[in-house]
C-alpha cells in the first residue's frame, strides 16, 4: 500500500507543477467527472483566460472510454506532451500514467509523442486500458508438480516405499491399502535407529524414552514347571478383542497373558508355556493398538473385527504394572490425588516447574490436563526433562486417535483425530480438518460402519516432584 501511495504522489507532482507554471490559467480542464478514488482535492477550475490569446489555443475535445465508462468531453491541449493528458486521465480514473495504455487508431499513445502526428480529431473516441490493480507476482515458492519430481518420487509416500518395500505393494496397478500400525511401528523403529541424543553418550534412546514400554515377562511352563523371566521393550500395547472384551482395559489385560509353544529343554519336546507380562517401565506417550485386523484362517483372508470396544479419555494402567513399578508410582499418584483433592494446583505447580519460559508454558498446558500437541519437536524436548522433576503417575490422557473406516482390511479410510493444545479436537480427514467435540471422540469405539479407533495415543499425566 505504501508503494501505491508514493506512486500516486510521484505522478501527480508534474501535474501540480504544471498548474503553477502555467500562465495564470490552466491549459486544459478536466471534465467534472472525477474519479472517486482520486485523492486530489479538485477545485473548480478557472475557465481559460480570454486575454491570453497570443498562444494558439489548441484544444481538442475527445471522449475517453475506460472499461465500461465513457468520459465525454475530455479536453486535450495538443501543444503539451501526451503525458499531461495521461495525468488528466489519472485524475478521472485513478490509473497511474505509467500504467495507462491509450489506444489511438491501432497504436499506443507514447508519453512523448507529438499530438499533431497522432492526428487526434475533435470528438474522437479514445480508448484507455489500464488498472490500478495490484500486479500479479509469482508466489515466492511455486507449487511442486508431480511432473517435476523424479519418477520414483511422484507420490508422497515414496520415501516410505523406498525404505520399506512392503508398502509399495500394488494390486491392479494401484498401491494397496497398508496397515497404519505397521507403518507406525516402522516409523518408530527407523526413528529410534537414527535419533540419538547428542548429549547423552550412553546412547539413551529418545524414541524409547518417549514411546517405549518395558515389559517384565515371566514365562512359565505348567508341564515342566520351568520358569524364566526376561525384559522386553515394545512400542505399543495391544488390545486384543474377543467376545468378552467390551472395554479397552479388558483387552489390555488379556494382552498381558499369552500362551506360546516352544521347545522345552527339560522335556526335550515342545510344550505350552504361559507368558505373563507386567509393565515395568512406562513411556511418556502410550500407544495402544486395537487388534482389529486378523488373518482368518478359514477363508484365508484378512478380516476386520467391528466389535465395539470402549476406551476412556483418561486411562489408568496401574494394575498392568509390575510391583516394582507400582511402588515407584505410589508417590506421584499420591501427589496427583492430593492436588486434585485440593483443586488448588495450577499456580503452585508452575512455581516449582522449570524456569525457561517455553518449558513453563508446556507444563502449564500439561497441568491443565489438556495435553499439548504431540508434534515431535516439542515432545522430544519434553523427553529431555529430568525425571526428578516430572514423575509419571500411570495415568494417561487421550490425545490422538487414528480411526479406520471400512469393513475390510484391504480397503477403507484412515482418519486422524487429534487434540490440539487448546483442548479442542480436530479431525484430519486427508487435507480437510474438521473441528470435533470431545464427547464425540469416545464414540469412535466401533460397532458399526462409522470410523472406529485403531490406534490410540495417550499422553502421560505427570506430577512435578
Amino acid at each position: 500500500m505504501v508503494d501505491h501511495v508514493t506512486t500516486i504522489y510521484q505522478c501527480t507532482l508534474p501535474f501540480h507543477e504544471y498548474k503553477i507554471n502555467s500562465r495564470g490559467h490552466l491549459p486544459f480542464s478536466t471534465s467534472k467527472l472525477s474519479h472517486p478514488n482520486s485523492k486530489q482535492n479538485q477545485k473548480p477550475l478557472p475557465s481559460p483566460h480570454p486575454a491570453n490569446a497570443e498562444a494558439p489555443i489548441t484544444m481538442v475535445t475527445v471522449s475517453v472510454k475506460w472499461q465500461k465508462e465513457v468520459y465525454p468531453a475530455v479536453e486535450i491541449d495538443i501543444s503539451q506532451p501526451p503525458y499531461v493528458f495521461k495525468c488528466q486521465l489519472y485524475d478521472l480514473t485513478g490509473v497511474p500514467p505509467e500504467r495507462q495504455k491509450i489506444m489511438v487508431k491501432g497504436g499506443l499513445l507514447k508519453d512523448d509523442a507529438d499530438w499533431s502526428k497522432v492526428g487526434v480529431k475533435e470528438g474522437q473516441r479514445l480508448m484507455m486500458m489500464g488498472t490500478a490493480d495490484e500486479i500479479v507476482k509469482a508466489p515466492e515458492k511455486g507449487p511442486i508438480f508431480v511432473e517435476d519430481m523424479p519418477e520414483e518420487e511422484q507420490v508422497v509416500n515414496v520415501v516410505l516405499r523406498k525404505k520399506y518395500p512392503q508398502f509399495g505393494q500394488q494390486s491392479n496397478g494401484a498401491f494397496m491399502q497398508q496397515d497404519a500400525e505397521e507403518c507406525w511401528t516402522q516409523l518408530l523403529y527407523t526413528l529410534s535407529q537414527s535419533l540419538k541424543l547428542p548429549s547423552s553418550s550412553e546412547g539413551l534412546d529418545v524414541v524409547k524414552a518417549l514411546f517405549g514400554i518395558e515389559f517384565d515377562n515371566r514365562i512359565h511352563c505348567a508341564e515342566s514347571g520351568e520358569e524364566s523371566t526376561e525384559t522386553e521393550t515394545v512400542y505399543s500395547l495391544k488390545c486384543h478383542i474377543s467376545q468378552e472384551v467390551n472395554h479397552l482395559h479388558e483387552g489390555l489385560k488379556r494382552g498381558l497373558k499369552s500362551e506360546l509353544e516352544k521347545a522345552s529343554p527339560s522335556l526335550g519336546r515342545s510344550a505350552v508355556y504361559v507368558k505373563d507380562s507386567r509393565i515395568n517401565g512406562l513411556p511418556r506417550y502410550l500407544t495402544i493398538q486395537f487388534v482389529r485386523f486378523f488373518w482368518k484362517r478359514e477363508s484365508n483372508q484378512k478380516a476386520k473385527i467391528l466389535r465395539k470396544v470402549d476406551y476412556p479419555l483418561s486411562l489408568d494402567v496401574y494394575d498392568l504394572c509390575s510391583d516394582n513399578l507400582r511402588k515407584k508410582l505410589e508417590g506421584p499418584r499420591q501427589v496427583l490425588r492430593d492436588a486434585e483433592g485440593k483443586k488448588a494446583g495450577l499456580k503452585t505447580s508452575v512455581k516449582t516447574s522449570v524456569s525457561t519460559a517455553g518449558d513453563s508454558k508446556m507444563t502449564e498446558a500439561e497441568e491443565s490436563s489438556s495435553g499439548s500437541g504431540e508434534a515431535s519437536k516439542s515432545t522430544a524436548q519434553e523427553g529431555l526433562l529430568p525425571e526428578e522433576e516430572h514423575q509419571l503417575t500411570g495415568i494417561y490422557d487421550l490425545v490422538a486417535v487414528l480411526t479406520h473406516k471400512g469393513r475390510s482390511a484391504d480397503s477403507g479410510h484412515y482418519v486422524a483425530w487429534v487434540k490440539q493444545e487448546n483442548g479442542k479436537w480436530v479431525q484430519f480427514d486427508d487435507d480437510n480438518p474438521i473441528l470435533q467435540r470431545e464427547e464425540d471422540i469416545t464414540k469412535l469405539s466401533g460397532g458399526g460402519d462409522w470410523h472406529m479407533a485403531y490406534i490410540c495415543m495417550y499422553k502421560a499425566r505427570v506430577v512435578p516432584m
Partner: protein, 896 residues
C-alpha cells in the same frame, strides 16, 4: 372405367389381355373387325368417343380443307377437354393412338398451311404417348406447330416437352446447331411453369439449357421465395462455378422482389462485397439495415459502414456497432441470465468425480501440472464469455487478486501462458472488462504470463471489432520481442482478433517474420497461421508468396517438425473455399521438398474446396487414402480431414462420408485411422449424431493411443456446447478407464470442457442461418485445430497447448435473441422444433416439426428452427437465428 356390361359383347372374350391392343401401332386393314374386338370392353360412351375420333381422323385426310379444319379443331377440342388422372393416358389420346402413324404420314404429304400447323400441334400431343424413346417427336411437331399457348395441352405435355428440350439442347450444343427456336419454347414453358407452382421444373429446364437468367423475368412476388429456396438448396450440389451462378440468380431475384435479408444472406454466400453493399444501398429502411448488420456480424464479416451506405452519422454509428459485434457479450449474458446459468462452474462440476468409484479421484495430493492445465482449459471453455469463474477471476474485492494469481501460478511454464489467456476466454467478447482484467498480467515479469496476456487480448477481441483497434495497439509492439513465447502470443492474438479482417497493418507486421532467418520455426509457423486467418479466403498473392518462400527456405530437418505443417495450412487458409483460385499456388507447391510436397498438396486442395461438397474432390481424397504408404509419410491425415472439409456442406453428402470413413477405419493404414475420428468430429461438429457418437466411443478404447486421443477430442467436438448427457457420461467413464495415462486424461478433460462449452449455450458449428452460410473464420479456426490434432503429442500435449484457443474463432452463442426496434431484448413466444426441408414442396408446408413453445431468448440445437408464435410482431429477418429485430405488426389487433 365403367363396369356396366356392354350389351354388344355379352360373354365373349371378356378376359382378353389388354396388351394386345397396345401392341397394335398401325391400324389394321380391317378396322371394323378390329373395332369389334376393342369395343368389347368399352362403355357406350367411350365407344361413341372412339368412333367420333375415328371419324375425325378420316375427315382430316379428306381433300376438303374446310372439313379438315373442322375435324382437326374438333379433335383438338376433344383432347383438350379430356380430363384424366396423371396415371392413365387420357381417352382421346388412347383412342387416337392407332392413328398416329396415319396422321404422321398424312402430315408429311400435306402442303404448308394453317391446317398443317394445326395438325402438327395435335401430332405433338399425340407423340406424348406414341413417340418412340429418344425420337423427341413431340418436340419436333411442337416446333413445326402453331406455337400457341403451351399450357392448353396440360402439365404432362409441358413436362414431356421440357424433357425433350433438354435432350435436344445437348444434341444441338454438340453439333453447334442454332437453338433459337428451342429457346423460344423454353420461354413459354418457363413462363407456364412459374405460373403453375412448378418452379423447380422451370429451374431444372433452364439449368439444362444453361440460361438461368431467363428465370428472373418470370418470377413474381408470390413464387420468388419458393424459386430461390430451390435455387439456393440445389446450388450445393452443383460444381463450381455453376453454384455461384445459381446463387447469383437467386440474389438477383431476391433483390428484384426486395427480399433484402435473404438477398444479403445470398450475397454473403457468394462472398461478394459489391452485392452486400448493393443490398444496403437498395434498402432505405434503417431498421432493416440494423438487421443486415446483425446478419453480417453473425457471419463474422468485416464491414465498414460508410456514408454511401447510411447517410445519418448517428445511425451509422449504431450500424457499425452492430457489425462490430460490440453487443454480442451483452446479448449472450442476457441469454445466460434468462436460462439461469450465470453461476460459475468449477472443473470438478464438470468432471463429476463423485459419480465415479473411488480410484479416479483418489490421491491427488500433489498438484499435477498437466491436470492443472487441463483444469485451466476446462474452466475457460465452460465459463467462456460469462465474465466470471472460480479460478481466474476474483469473485470479490476481498481476496484482492490473490486467488487469480494463485491459480495462474499453479500452472507450469508454458501452462501459465494458457492460464493467463484463459482469462481472455472467460471474458470473451467483453472487450472493455477483458482488457481491464488482463492488464495486470502485462506488468508481470514472467514471459509466459505476458505471452498469455497477449493471447488473451486476441481472444477477448475475437469476432469483435473496435474503432480504436485495441488488439493491434497492444499486440503490435510485442510481435518483434526476442522471447519466442511472447512473440507467439502476440502473433496468435493478432490472428484471433483480426481473423477475416484482411487488415493491411497486420500484414505488414506479420509478413516480415516469415522471411526472418533468426525467427524460430514455431514463430514462423504461427505467423503463417495468423496471416492465413486474417486473410482467410482472400487469395492474397503477396502473402501466398511470402509463405511459399518461407516454406522453400526451411531446411529438411525443420520440415520433419509437425509445426512446419502449419505453413501449408496457413497457405491453404488464404484460399479457403475459393476452389479453382488455388490452382496456381498448388502448382507451385509441387516444387516443394518431397517431405512436405504431398502434405501441402492435400492441405491446399482441401482448404480450397472446403464446404463446397464437391464430389470429385471427395473421390480424389478417397483415392489418396487408398494408397499404402511407405513408413514415415503422413500426408494421408490431411487427405482424410480434406474429405470431411469438402463433404461437410450438405446433409446427404455428409451421411455418405460418414459411411465412407467407416471403411477407411477398417482398411486404412495407421495414419489414416488416426485422422478418421477428427474427420468425424468436423462433420458432426456440435451435432452429436448417435451413430457417430458410438463410433467415436468405440475408437476411444482403441489400442493405438493416437486414435484414442483423437476420438476423445472428437467426442468433445461433436458434443461441443450441447451439454449432451450421453457424451458426458461416456467421457466420465473414460476418465476412470484412462486415469493412469496422463495424455489421454488431458484429452478427456479438454473434451469434457468442450461438451459443456459456455455451459451449453454455444456452438462450434461454422454453419449458420439455417445451415446455409459457412463462416470462413469459424471454419478456419476449426481446421487449424484439427490439423494440429493430427500430431497431438508434439503440439497440444507438448508446449503449444494454447492452439486450442483457435477454437474461439468458431464459438458462437446458439441462440435466438429477439430485440425491439431500439435493440432492447424483447421476449416473445416462439415455437422451436426440428427443421423440415420444405424446398420444392407445394403449398405452404410446415417448416418445423415436434415443436415446443418457449419465450425468447431461446437456445437452438443443431437442426432446430424457430418461428414466431405470435402475430403481434413481424421479424425483420425470415431466418430466426442470433439477433432478430421485431417490429410490431400494424395489422394485428389485440383481441383482449
Amino acid at each position: 372405367m365403367s363396369k356396366t356390361p356392354d350389351p354388344k359383347s355379352t360373354g365373349t372374350g371378356a378376359g382378353k389381355p389388354a396388351g394386345e391392343e397396345s401392341t397394335v401401332k398401325v391400324p389394321s386393314k380391317d378396322p371394323k373387325k378390329k373395332d369389334d374386338k376393342k369395343d368389347e370392353d368399352l362403355s357406350e360412351e367411350d365407344l361413341a368417343l372412339k368412333q367420333q375420333l375415328e371419324l375425325y381422323v378420316e375427315r382430316v385426310q379428306d381433300a376438303d380443307p374446310g372439313l379438315q379444319k373442322v375435324a382437326l379443331e374438333s379433335m383438338r377440342q376433344e383432347i383438350r377437354t379430356a380430363t384424366s388422372s396423371m396415371t392413365s393416358v387420357p381417352k382421346p389420346l388412347k383412342f387416337l393412338r392407332p392413328h398416329y402413324g396415319t396422321l404422321k404420314g398424312f402430315y408429311e404429304k400435306m402442303p404448308d398451311s394453317d391446317l398443317k400447323t394445326l395438325l402438327a400441334d395435335i401430332l405433338s400431343v399425340l407423340a406424348l404417348t406414341m413417340s418412340a424413346e429418344g425420337e423427341r417427336e413431340s418436340l419436333k411437331y411442337r416446333l413445326l406447330g402453331s406455337q400457341g399457348d403451351i399450357g392448353s395441352w396440360g402439365h404432362e405435355y409441358v413436362r414431356n416437352l421440357a424433357g425433350e428440350i433438354g435432350q435436344e439442347y445437348a444434341k444441338r450444343q454438340s453439333e453447334e446447331a442454332p437453338i433459337d427456336d428451342l429457346m423460344e419454347l423454353v420461354q413459354q414453358i418457363v413462363s407456364f411453369n412459374m405460373k403453375h407452382n412448378a418452379e423447380p421444373d422451370a429451374v431444372d429446364l433452364l439449368i439444362e439449357v444453361e440460361d438461368l437468367d431467363l428465370l428472373v423475368e418470370h418470377v413474381d412476388s408470390s413464387n420468388c421465395k419458393r424459386t430461390c429456396s430451390y435455387l439456393t438448396s440445389f446450388a450445393k450440389y452443383l460444381p463450381g462455378p455453376d453454384d455461384m451462378l445459381v446463387l447469383d440468380i437467386a440474389y438477383t431475384i431476391y433483390m428484384k422482389f426486395e427480399e433484402y435479408p435473404l438477398a444479403l444472406v445470398t450475397a454473403l454466400a457468394l462472398d461478394n462485397m459489391q452485392s452486400i453493399k448493393q443490398v444496403f444501398t437498395s434498402c432505405d429502411d434503417n431498421l432493416m439495415k440494423r438487421q443486415f448488420c446483425y446478419i453480417l456480424a453473425r457471419h463474422g464479416q468485416t464491414f465498414d459502414i460508410d456514408e454511401e451506405l447510411c447517410a445519418s452519422d448517428e445511425e451509422r454509428e449504431v450500424l457499425q456497432e452492430i457489425v462490430n459485434n460490440v453487443k454480442l457479450s451483452e446479448g449472450y449474458l442476457a441469454l445466460a441470465r434468462d436460462i439461469e446459468v450465470m453461476e460459475a462452474k468449477t472443473p470438478d462440476d464438470i468432471y463429476k468425480p463423485h459419480l465415479l468409484d473411488g480410484r479416479a479421484s483418489a490421491g491427488a495430493s500433489v498438484d499435477s501440472a498437466r491436470q492443472n492445465l487441463a483444469a485451466t482449459f476446462v474452466n475457460a471453455f465452460v465459463n467462456a464469455g460469462f465474465g466470471q469463474d472460480k479460478l481466474m477471476t476474483v469473485p470479490s474485492e476481498a481476496t484482492s487478486g490473490g486467488s487469480s494469481a494463485s491459480w495462474l501460478f499453479k500452472n507450469k511454464e508454458h501452462g501459465k501462458a494458457s492460464a493467463a489467456a484463459s482469462l481472455g476466454m472467460i471474458l470473451l467478447w467483453d472487450v472493455d472488462s477483458g482488457l481491464a482484467q488482463l492488464d495486470k498480467y502485462f506488468h508481470s515479469t514472467d514471459t509466459h504470463v505476458i505471452a498469455g496476456a497477449l493471447l488473451g487480448v486476441g481472444i477477448v477481441n475475437c469476432g469483435i471489432k473496435n474503432d480504436c483497434d485495441p488488439a493491434l495497439a497492444l499486440l503490435a509492439e510485442y510481435v518483434d520481442k526476442d522471447d519466442p513465447s511472447i512473440r507467439i502470443g502476440a502473433i496468435m492474438g493478432l490472428g484471433l482478433a483480426y481473423a477475416g479482417a484482411q487488415n493491411e497493418q497486420i500484414r505488414s507486421i506479420l509478413t516480415p517474420i516469415l522471411g526472418d532467418n533468426k525467427a524460430s520455426l514455431d514463430v514462423i509457423a504461427f505467423a503463417a497461421i495468423s496471416l492465413g486467418l486474417v486473410y482467410v479466403g482472400s487469395c492474397n498473392e503477396e502473402i501466398a508468396q511470402a509463405i511459399i518462400f518461407s516454406l522453400m527456405e526451411r531446411i529438411e530437418s525443420e520440415l520433419g517438425d509437425p509445426l512446419s505443417r502449419l505453413l501449408p495450412l496457413g497457405l491453404g487458409l488464404l484460399y479457403l473455399g475459393k476452389q479453382e483460385s488455388v490452382e496456381a499456388t498448388a502448382e507451385v507447391s509441387k516444387t516443394f521438398h518431397e517431405k512436405i510436397r504431398k502434405h501441402c498438396d492435400m492441405t491446399l486442395l482441401s482448404c480450397a474446396y472446403a464446404g463446397t461438397g464437391n464430389v470429385l474432390k471427395v473421390q480424389h481424397f478417397l483415392g489418396e487414402c487408398a494408397q499404402h504408404l511407405e513408413k514415415g509419410e503422413s500426408y494421408q491425415g490431411a487427405a482424410v480431414l480434406g474429405i470431411a472439409m469438402v463433404a461437410m456442406s450438405e446433409e446427404l453428402g455428409l451421411e455418405m462420408t460418414i459411411r465412407s470413413l467407416e471403411h477407411l477405419l477398417q482398411y486404412g493404414d495407421q495414419n489414416i485411422r488416426r485422422a478418421v475420428p477428427l474427420a468425424l468430429g468436423l462433420l458432426c461438429i456440435s451435432n452429436p449424431k448417435v451413430n457417430v457418437m458410438d463410433t467415436l466411443s468405440r475408437l476411444s478404447h482403441d489400442s493405438d493411443t493416437e486414435v484414442a486421443m483423437a476420438a476423445i477430442i472428437s467426442l468433445g467436438l461433436i458434443g461441443a456446447g450441447t451439454n449432451n448427457a450421453r457424451i458426458a457420461g461416456i467421457l466420465r467413464n473414460l476418465s476412470s478407464y484412462h486415469y493412469k495415462e496422463a495424455n489421454l486424461l488431458f484429452c478427456l478433460r479438454i473434451a469434457q470442457g468442450l461438451v459443456h462449452l459456455g455451459k451449453g449455450l454455444m456452438t462450434l458449428s461454422p454453419y449458420h442461418s439455417e445451415r446455409f452460410l459457412l463462416s470462413p473464420t469459424a471454419l478456419a479456426g476449426l481446421i487449424t485445430v484439427l490439423h494440429i490434432c493430427l500430431d497431438m503429442k508434439a503440439i497440444i500435449l507438448g508446449k503449444y497447448h494454447y492452439v486450442l484457443y483457435f477454437l474461439t474463432l468458431a464459438m458462437q452463442p446458439r441462440m435466438l435473441m429477439t430485440v425491439d426496434e431500439n435493440l432492447k431484448p424483447l421476449s416473445v413466444p416462439v415455437r422451436v422444433g426440428q427443421a423440415v426441408d420444405v424446398t420444392g414442396q407445394a403449398g405452404r408446408p410446415k417448416t418445423i416439426t415436434g415443436f415446443q413453445t418457449h419465450s425468447t431468448p431461446v437456445l437452438l440445437a443443431a437442426g432446430d428452427r424457430a418461428e414466431l408464435a405470435t402475430e403481434k410482431y413481424i421479424p425483420l429477418s425470415p431466418i430466426l437465428e442470433g439477433f432478430v429485430i421485431l417490429k410490431e405488426n400494424p395489422e394485428c389487433r389485440d383481441d383482449n
